[in-house]
């Protein structure tokens, strides 16, 4: 199964990975090969098999609504590339995403 260069470029943006032209060429070849390999699953009839996303059968794991100590702001920001002492700083964000 072959992926096009354009497919790979689109996935690169979705995955937020900058790809040079050389990267794109190499990645297109490699991904096509790997996707071709994993496509062997198509030959299996899985109609009777429900998807198994997780090996555990456990259910209903909760914690109590009890506060625990948070980190200090200093700890929270200790590995941050850019901050102003209270907030993380990132290149301009347009609008607030909130939870969608």
């Amino acid at each position: 199964m072959a992926l096009s260069r354009q497919d790979v470029a689109k996935v690169g943006l979705l995955a937020r990975l900058a790809l040079s032209d050389a990267d794109l060429d190499r990645m297109t070849g490699e991904l096509s090969k790997i996707v071709g390999f994993v496509s062997q699953l198509e030959e299996l009839d899985t109609a009777q098999a429900a998807p198994l996303a997780h090996p555990l059968d456990t259910q209903n794991v909760f914690r109590a609504d009890e506060p625990k100590p948070s980190l200090t702001t200093e700890q929270a920001l200790q590995s941050t590339p850019r901050h102003d002492g209270s907030c993380f700083l990132v290149p301009a964000v347009l609008g607030e995403s909130g939870a969608a």
Binding site: L17, A18, K33, V38, L56, P81, L94
Partner: protein, 502 residues
């Protein structure tokens, strides 16, 4: 030198009795690291001062008659995928170079509570993705049995440091074979416990439904000792099992009489190195001699394991690794463009933020990590989810069912841990798919969420270790450890040391 050869069980006993001080033990291993690790590169970080201070504290408390933990004074090396609040945690990635977590992984905290002495953080494939340790951003690890060969991966540093006597025990993690395969290639013992037996909290996630932490040591008995400390329920990991933790070290001695071990004929097909096949057959013979019975069993979908694994793991990884985007921690690309966006005509990024993301990730991740992120992103994206990810989950169900069916007939399943002995560094780096196939005997365990153990069962004519793998049902760790320990009581493969300077 004698001290370095003591088993972990004996070393802990000697320290408790005062025959050896914790400082002496720590110094012996730290000196060994200083001497050898320049040529092996098993460690990414060693904190000699902290380790000696910790050991001195153990000695002081022993002299004062204060209670000591079960691993008091035992030097332990920890894979750099586990968070340590006092040492960097990098996952062997440029993305996390110098990163210091503000907390300890659950397992690290338990080791500290047990008074173990953390000697350092071990090298690995970047974000645990790889089977040779060549994917480390900080250089490959060299196999102590032949420095021109790979130690396996991804817990290659942990395997190599134990094999080279730089630590008596190490902690690894296993997502598709990352404990068992390097243990096999380095001639040591490695246990991948049942999914959920050990808390994953603080283990940097690769594929959350497959990842499991485990012990790596020279013997099954030493693995059992470490398991007693690191296994058990953690309310901070919703996927950790609540089942009681047995006293593994007390359950080793029962003979193997009547044990039913399965043998999968398909394991011995093309692709399996003849010397490895021979070693594995010899091991079956040894188990038979020890009273076990050997039965052929089928795992009809095992041949789809690699394809299934290389969809499930990259899909989860593509999401787990989204957090490394340069915004809150880790590597951030300097502004000023050296890259273009391949997705848009003219190569413009849609915003400075998107550019920062794309460039930070392009610079921070190595080629194999990028490949898997790309593969996982693709397989989850609109229009492909059903054909790839959902399909893989259905096959995953079939693979697990194969194991359930097999374990109705046998107690354990034996076989090779990897198709070849340690391969030369550089041999597979240009062919990602060839590298993926080294996991062919190990991924099934993770997909099914069951347990597996790998230990040495012989050597090739060239002097490379051959590994044997046992897989068992969920929570069969006592049996896996016991079977391996009984084998090690009858053989001495696990006592062989690599040809390194004394």
């Amino acid at each position: 030198m004698q001290l370095l050869e003591l088993s972990a069980v004996d070393l802990v006993t000697a320290i408790r009795r005062g025959e050896v001080s914790a400082v002496q033990a720590a110094e012996a291993f730290l000196d060994r690291i200083t001497k050898l690790d320049g040529s092996i590169n098993a460690f990414l970080h060693v904190d000699r001062t902290a380790a000696l201070a910790r050991a001195a504290d153990v000695d002081k408390r022993r002299r004062e008659g204060k209670p000591l933990g079960p691993l008091a004074g035992l030097p332990v090396a920890v894979k750099d995928a586990l968070c340590t609040s006092d040492q960097p945690t990098t996952c062997a990635s440029k993305m996390l170079a110098g990163y210091r977590p503000p907390y300890d992984a659950h397992v690290v905290a338990r080791l500290r509570q047990a008074d173990a002495v953390l000697v350092g953080k071990t090298n690995m494939d970047e974000f645990a993705m790889g089977g040779s340790n060549e994917n480390s951003a900080f250089g490959a690890v060299h196999n102590p049995w032949d420095l021109a060969r790979a130690p396996g991966g991804s817990s290659g540093g942990s395997a190599a440091c134990v094999a080279a006597d730089m630590a008596p025990v190490a902690i690894g993690s296993d997502t598709g074979g990352s404990i068992r395969q390097p243990a096999g290639l380095c001639g040591i013992t490695g246990l991948k416990p049942t999914y959920g037996r050990i808390s994953r909290r603080g283990l940097v996630a690769f594929a959350s439904s497959l990842d499991q932490i485990g012990p790596m040591a020279r013997s099954a008995a030493d693995c059992a000792l470490v398991m007693e400390t690191i296994a058990g329920h953690d309310p901070g990991d919703a996927t950790s099992l609540a089942d009681d933790v047995p006293r593994y070290t007390d359950l080793l001695e029962k003979p193997l009489t009547g044990l039913r071990i399965g043998r999968v004929p398909e394991h011995f097909g093309p692709g399996l190195d003849p010397e490895v096949a021979h070693g594995v057959e010899e091991a079956f013979a040894a188990f038979k001699a020890a009273g076990a019975t050997i039965h052929d069993v089928e795992l009809p979908h095992a041949k789809y394991g690699i394809a299934t694994y290389y969809l499930v793991a990259p899909c989860e990884a593509s999401s787990n690794l989204a957090r490394y985007d340069g915004a809150h921690y880790g590597h951030r690309a300097e502004s000023g463009s050296g890259h273009r966006s391949a997705a848009k005509a003219g190569g413009e990024f849609e915003s400075p933020l998107v550019e920062m993301y794309c460039r930070s990730r392009a610079e921070g991740f190595g080629p194999e990590v990028k490949r898997r992120i790309m593969l996982g992103t693709y397989a989850l994206s609109a229009g492909y989810y059903e054909a790839f990810y959902a399909k893989a989950l259905r096959v995953r169900r079939l693979i697990r069912q194969d194991y359930l069916d097999a374990f109705a007939k046998v107690d354990l399943i034996g076989g090779p841990v990897s198709p070849t002995p340690a391969f030369p560094l550089g041999e597979k780096t240009s062919d990602p798919l060839a590298m993926y196939l080294v996991d062919m005997y190990t991924v099934g365990t993770n997909l099914a969420g069951i347990g597996g153990i790998s230990f040495p069962c012989g050597f090739t004519k060239g002097g490379l270790p051959i590994g044997f793998q046992l897989q068992g049902p969920a929570l069969s760790e006592p049996l896996l450890l016991r079977a391996a320990d009984r084998y090690q009581q009858l053989t001495d493969w696990h006592s062989k040391r690599p040809p390194l300077p004394a």
